[in-house]
């Protein structure tokens, strides 16, 4: 270790791995439905896409977690976005590509991708 810069480089590289170990649940939560129905419909690539996008963006106030069956199995994979002080947004029939768009436009840009939400898909 010859300089502080070297130390800080290790810290920044490692922060993503340790940073999620917090009981502070403020910030944005992306929750992916991962019950049998979700997994069968392809929730895993969606989950992984969100995890990778979050890590790549360096956003520390976003957590990606999973949940069980929400009860709308025909719409799986289902993803919920919970932002403090805002109404929950439920995205349905998600794919990894759709995840990218939701992340860029909604999580980063703050604009809900209306065409993927349950409201636009329910008939």
């Amino acid at each position: 270790m010859k300089s502080l810069a070297e130390l800080s480089a290790i810290r920044d590289r490692m922060k993503g791995q340790v940073g999620s170990r917090s009981h502070d649940l403020t910030g944005t939560k992306i929750v992916v439905g991962m019950a049998t129905c979700g997994i069968a419909a392809g929730a895993r690539p969606v989950l992984n896409a969100f995890v990778e996008l979050t890590a790549a963006s360096g956003k520390t106030d976003v957590t990606v977690s999973q949940t069980g069956c929400i009860g709308i199995c025909q719409y799986e994979p289902v993803v919920e976005v919970l932002e403090p002080g805002k109404e929950k947004v439920t995205y349905v029939k998600m794919t990894a590509d759709k995840a990218k768009r939701v992340f860029d436009e909604h999580i980063v840009g703050g604009k809900v991708v209306t065409e993927y939400t349950i409201g636009s898909n329910a008939k």
Binding site: L4, R11, M14, G33, M34, I39, E52
Partner: protein
């Protein structure tokens, strides 16, 4: 890409209840489920809630699973990690509210805690230096070496108000100043990890959970006083702590955070470990240094103080593990931040090891000034089985027993001394109505008699005479004059002993004499032990109206002291009874009592 982290406690408490096997099984099951790339299993130090061990936390949800067995692991993997359904059955009951899982920070055990010294315990992998660096580790050392003069470091520690966490509470900054003021030359930085109080395990937990915090602070101390070499004196009975310290020192050397020209400056510093054989007296500073030198661990008179003439006759400082664990945080967050916590005379936080008759046995860190009542009733969850609180013992064999009327005293060094106890290293043993205070005093005195090194007469002989008087009282042969004799002897030993061991050994006796004199009097005058603990002063009796004559107790009695015919009330022969208590455990009708 890691999306979830499973932290498995690898502290001594959870290790002894099998956490290593749980971790192995976890890794195996995660592999089977094909999640090895996504879920990371990390072994950490103590989470604090040892009573519920083995424990684990799953992030990002922050789910706290308690009393996990190896057989529970497949369910956690298939339900929680694969399908995202929290296994409510295993979640810590305080976090479960209906279908909702609350944050651990909202539980009564954690709510009032404030973690400074324990900030990384149960959060990072102590065997991975990168995880320590990720939580700003070694940034304080970097800041000190590149931006501050040694005097500025000492001034910062002084301004923070940090005092020794080993028990005596000497201001840490002043200690460093004395050593720094000595002429340049070989000086030593020592760490007292010879935690010896029965029931105390905070230093062990810090070493097991965050060893780099101690290493970093010792290097900072080295810079402040002008030393290039340090010793950590740790007891050999702490194998996990020793192993993790060794790993941590190796990793710090590999990164050049110990060794020559740290951060490209002129500062060089390295550390050595010395294992103590477990003698209590070696927690005393002069005895500890004598032991590091390879000699028999005995104290010597002070002055000269170690800051002038310490290890190998050179100026030395000695601080406790928990004291060091605060240092890097003070450097990074500033002395004002640290001084904003606590009371007028005692700043910052204190770690306590909660034990005895309390629901949440474990490790807690609270701001100074928190009351004993908050610790025992709120954080500790109170006394189990509906029993009544009798006393809290702080400071181990050097401390005293605090009765119920002082429960609302805000904890700091001065207040505890005022009510006849000491802060000590942080052991806090709770006692209920079933504890005999004379017996407690005897227990601690037996410990000091065993541990007295024998160098000075007041301690070597005085403590034995005190114990003889206590034995006389508990066996039913005490006289009222014995109480005065005992008290006088206490004061002699206290004022005439060479080191802290003897000077504080009478404290458990003095404080129980002060607050529970009526119990002593009951033993001496009435020949009764009110808590039914002292065997010579109590007997077992069968209540005739409750006894159904089932004969269970008679069959269980190892000495055949119980007689009677079937379906008729039984009887205990007091001359044969050895008071083992086997009958009382066997009786299903509550017909056997102690009186």
């Amino acid at each position: 890409m890691v999306r979830s982290t499973v932290l498995v406690c690898g502290g001594t408490g959870c290790s002894s209840s099998g956490s290593a096997k749980i971790r192995e099984r976890m890794v195996e099951e995660i592999g089977k489920a094909g999640l090895a790339e996504e879920v990371k299993v990390v072994e950490t130090g103590c989470f604090g809630l040892c009573a519920l061990g083995p424990v684990m936390i799953v992030y990002p949800e922050g789910t706290f699973y308690s009393r996990v067995t190896v057989d529970d692991v497949p369910e956690i993997v298939s339900e929680h990690l694969l399908k995202g359904r929290i296994v409510t059955r295993l979640a810590y009951d305080e976090t479960v509210r209906g279908d909702e899982i609350l944050s651990l920070n909202d539980t009564s055990f954690y709510k009032k805690q404030h973690r400074v010294a324990l900030r990384n315990c149960g959060v990072i992998n102590p065997e991975n230096i990168d995880e320590y660096i990720a939580t700003d580790g070694y940034q304080a050392l970097g800041k000190v070496l590149t931006e501050m003069t040694p005097q500025q470091v000492i001034d910062t520690i002084k301004a923070s108000g940090l005092r020794g966490r080993g028990g005596a509470g000497f201001p840490t900054g002043n200690k460093w100043q004395f050593a720094a003021n000595q002429p340049a030359g070989k000086k030593y930085v020592c760490c007292n990890a010879d935690e010896g109080d029965p029931g105390a395990f905070m230093d062990r937990s810090i070493l097991e959970g965050d060893p780099h915090a101690v290493i970093e602070a010792m290097a900072i101390a080295g810079y402040a006083i002008g030393s290039d070499e340090g010793y950590i004196y740790v007891r050999a009975e702490y194998p996990i702590a020793v192993k993790r310290l060794q790993i941590a020192i190796e990793q710090a050397r590999e990164y050049g955070l110990l060794g020559k020209n740290i951060f490209g400056t002129d500062f060089c510093f390295d550390l050595k470990l010395r294992l103590g054989a477990g003698a209590f007296v070696c927690g005393e500073e002069t005895a500890l240094m004598t032991s590091i030198e390879g000699k028999r661990g005995e104290p010597r008179p002070r002055p000269p103080f170690p800051a002038i003439k310490g290890l190998f006759g050179r100026p030395s400082i000695l601080n406790n593990v928990e004291t060091y664990a605060n240092v890097a945080q003070i450097i990074l967050k500033g002395p004002e931040w640290f001084a904003s916590m606590g009371t007028e005379t005692s700043k910052g936080t204190k770690v306590f090891a909660l034990g005895g008759k309390i629901k949440n046995t474990g490790l807690v860190e609270i701001p100074m000034g928190t009351t004993l009542r908050e610790i025992i009733e709120e954080i500790g969850g109170g006394i189990p089985n509906g029993k009544k609180f009798k006393a809290a013992q702080t400071g181990g064999p050097s401390g005293g027993c605090i009765p119920a009327q002082h429960l609302d005293t805000p904890i700091d060094y001065e207040n505890l001394a005022k009510i006849g106890s000491i802060m000590g290293s942080g052991g806090l043993i709770v006692m209920d109505e079933d504890n005999c205070m004379v017996d407690i005093a005897k227990f601690f005195l037996e410990f000091t008699v065993d541990e007295s090194c024998g160098k000075c007469t007041p301690c070597r002989v005085g403590t034995v005479r005190m114990l003889e008087i206590l034995n006389k009282i508990t066996s039913g042969n005490g006289e009222m004059e014995d109480l005065d004799r005992l008290e006088a002897l206490c004061n002699y030993v206290k004022s005439a002993s060479l080191c802290g061991l003897g000077q504080t050994a009478p404290n458990p006796v003095l404080s129980t004499l002060q607050y529970f004199r009526d119990e002593y009097v009951a033993h001496v005058r009435d020949k009764k032990c009110p808590a039914h603990v002292c065997k010579n002063l109590m007997q077992y009796k069968i209540l005739e109206d409750k006894c159904r004559g089932c004969t269970a107790c008679a069959r269980k009695c190892p000495v055949g002291a119980i007689s009677g015919t079937v379906k008729q009330p039984h009887h205990i022969d007091p001359n044969k009874c050895i008071k083992c208590g086997a009958c009382i455990e066997t009786c299903k009708f509550g017909a056997i009592i102690k009186e």
